[in-house]
């Protein structure tokens, strides 16, 4: 499929079983087959889809190096369809990362290690995981892409760096819990996500593919609501809240082309100024946020 043609994405909004990697791998394989049979060119699964979210002291049991048979099986399944999946990655140094992999043609094309690990409120990721260090755009058969994992997207610099790196579309696997149920339409946490995704899509002139899990873990509920947002800030497709679904969305790269001509924010970006200013701010000074 040449760069520029529209392509069908499958959003694998599933409910992982906590700590049961074998069952989750099997589930991923089933959904990959289903997505392929439905004509999708890409299927995207949520953050920590192979392990569940609150793994806590299960880390040692569920962590897998990139060459582990469980990981290899999913990479091998990326045959005729590209696959994005996420798990606890164990590095050669035995550090543990929240990793999302982009596999195509039975090979790992890109690995993103979650950079921002929420450790506040109900979140405790910094206690268990090591932090990733890079936001690198990478080439796919659908053009250049960028990947963030959940909390990464709550830092505006993440899509910014991916955008400058040439990403024309962005992937965002998530495990985001539902919080606050007093709004008329969406959970409080979901409302924030929706605003964020719409703004990013427009600001960076990209398609955003957001895939959030569902199900409960010890009373904490993940809201789902996966979807694709176009560079115009519109929802191309949207999966239901709270329920498992394999949702499909057409992504049209022409929309990126039009958006970037109509509103050439990327063209006008002064990253030389940004760099200079960051250098200036990086000088140690009392009372300033530490880089």
């Amino acid at each position: 499929m040449p760069d520029g043609e529209r392509f069908l994405v499958a959003l694998g909004q599933l409910r992982p079983r906590l700590g049961d990697v074998a069952a989750n791998v099997a589930r991923h394989l089933e959904w990959i087959a289903q997505a392929r049979a439905s004509g999708a060119s890409l299927v995207v699964f949520p953050e920590l889809g192979l392990t569940g979210y609150q793994v806590q002291d299960l880390v040692l049991d569920v962590a897998r190096p990139l060459d582990h048979p469980d990981v290899v099986r999913l990479v091998e399944a990326a045959d005729g369809i590209d696959v994005v999946f996420s798990f606890v990655e164990e590095s050669d140094e035995h550090l543990f990362y929240v990793t999302s992999v982009y596999a195509a043609d039975r090979q790992i094309r890109h690995r993103h290690r979650k950079v921002y690990l929420p450790t506040y409120g109900m979140f405790d990721e910094g206690r268990y995981f090591a932090r990733g260090q890079r936001f690198e755009a990478f080439d796919t058969r659908f053009g250049r892409a960028g990947m963030m994992v959940c909390e990464d997207a709550w830092h505006v610099s993440s899509p910014y760096l991916l955008g400058l790196g040439g990403a024309n579309w962005m992937l965002l696997p998530a495990s985001s819990p539902a919080r606050s149920v007093t709004d008329p339409e969406h959970f409080g946490s979901q409302k924030f996500w929706r605003n964020l995704l719409q703004v990013y899509a427009q600001l960076f002139g990209v398609h955003l593919v957001f895939v959030n899990r569902v199900g409960f873990e010890d009373g904490v509920n993940f809201f789902g609501g996966s979807g694709v947002v176009s560079p115009e800030g519109e929802w191309v497709a949207e999966a239901p809240q709270l329920h498992e679904a394999l949702e499909f969305a057409w992504v049209d790269p022409q929309a990126v082309r039009r958006a970037r001509y109509t509103t050439p924010i990327l063209r006008d970006e002064r990253w030389d100024v940004v760099l200079r200013e960051l250098r200036r701010l990086a000088e140690p000074r009392e009372g300033r946020v530490n880089p």
Binding site: A178, V181, D218, G219
Partner: protein, 283 residues
């Protein structure tokens, strides 16, 4: 038991007792109490708690409660009496037979079915819990727990029954360590040497019911929990695979007993999830 594991489980008794005595003193007083109350079964765990509590708060600071059921072994009550006499501590005997039998007379009739030994045993454990918390209010004494680490990990206890307490001084001691410490503190030999039993029905022993000995359990649990070794590693090193699997399954399946009830999260601050304060809050 593997001598290396046995050596690692071996406590510095003096230091351990010093910490546990301070623990009882400080946590009891911080909660606004001067006294503690606990069930004394005649077994080694509650005997150890009695000896520790007396060291911490003096004999006037403790109150032992014996709560026999009609099928309880007479030896149990005798052993409990030995502890009470040896320590010269105040105590109350509250038989639970009438309450438990009245309950099952009513419920067995309503369900037209006879309760299983397990249900009866759990009911007894909870009757004892109810009694202790009632007497806690009467005596102004905080309830001490008597579940050890082996029982907590194996889930060998009744939820909201013997597992319920305000403070548990021995919850981080494996059964092997309970024995070591009890011996060191002078718990009577008849208690040290008898087979452990929940004494919920006649001839019940823990080890018969569990299907393995406490020594076997501690050897496996210590490696799984404290050393973070995997089940596969233990088996590779020569442990009995069936034993290891059985223990791992018990530990996993009983995690719920070690946690407070699961709350459905709705708001942005949920009790137990992101509403986080120590129990010491304001103390």
């Amino acid at each position: 038991m593997n001598p290396d594991i046995q050596a690692r489980l071996c406590l510095n008794e003096r230091l351990t007792v010093e910490i546990l005595v301070e623990f009882i003193r400080e946590e009891v007083r911080k909660a606004g109490f001067e006294k503690v109350i606990f069930g004394l079964s005649g077994g080694i765990d509650s005997a150890l708690v009695a000896y520790l509590a007396v060291r911490a708060l003096g004999r006037d600071g403790v109150h032992a409660v014996m709560m026999p059921y009609r099928t309880s072994s007479p030896a149990s009550l005798r052993d409990a009496q030995t502890v009470v006499d040896g320590l010269a501590i105040p105590h109350t005997i509250v038989p639970i037979t009438a309450a438990v039998d009245a309950y099952f007379a009513t419920v067995d009739a309503a369900l037209a079915a006879q309760a299983t030994p397990l249900r009866r045993g759990n009911r007894m454990a909870r009757e004892r819990m109810c009694t202790l918390f009632d007497l806690s209010a009467h005596f102004g004494a905080l309830v001490l727990g008597t579940s050890n680490k082996t029982e907590l990990l194996l889930g060998y206890g009744t939820q909201f029954g013997d597992l319920a307490s305000a403070l548990n001084p021995i919850g981080d001691l494996y059964k092997t360590q309970v024995r070591q410490l009890a011996r060191w503190l002078g718990v009577p030999a008849s208690i040290l040497n008898k087979p452990p039993s929940a004494d919920l029905w006649e001839d019940q022993t823990d080890e018969k019911e569990l299907g393995f000995t406490y020594d076997e359990a501690d050897e496996v649990l210590y490696q799984l929990v404290d050393l973070r070794r995997s089940a596969a590693e233990l088996v590779q090193a020569g442990a009995d695979e069936r034993l290891v699997r059985a223990i791992v399954r018990r530990v996993q399946n009983n995690q719920y007993k070690r946690r407070t009830p699961v709350i459905a999260k709705l708001s942005s601050r949920t009790v137990g999830v992101d509403f986080r304060y120590l129990r010491d809050w304001g103390r």
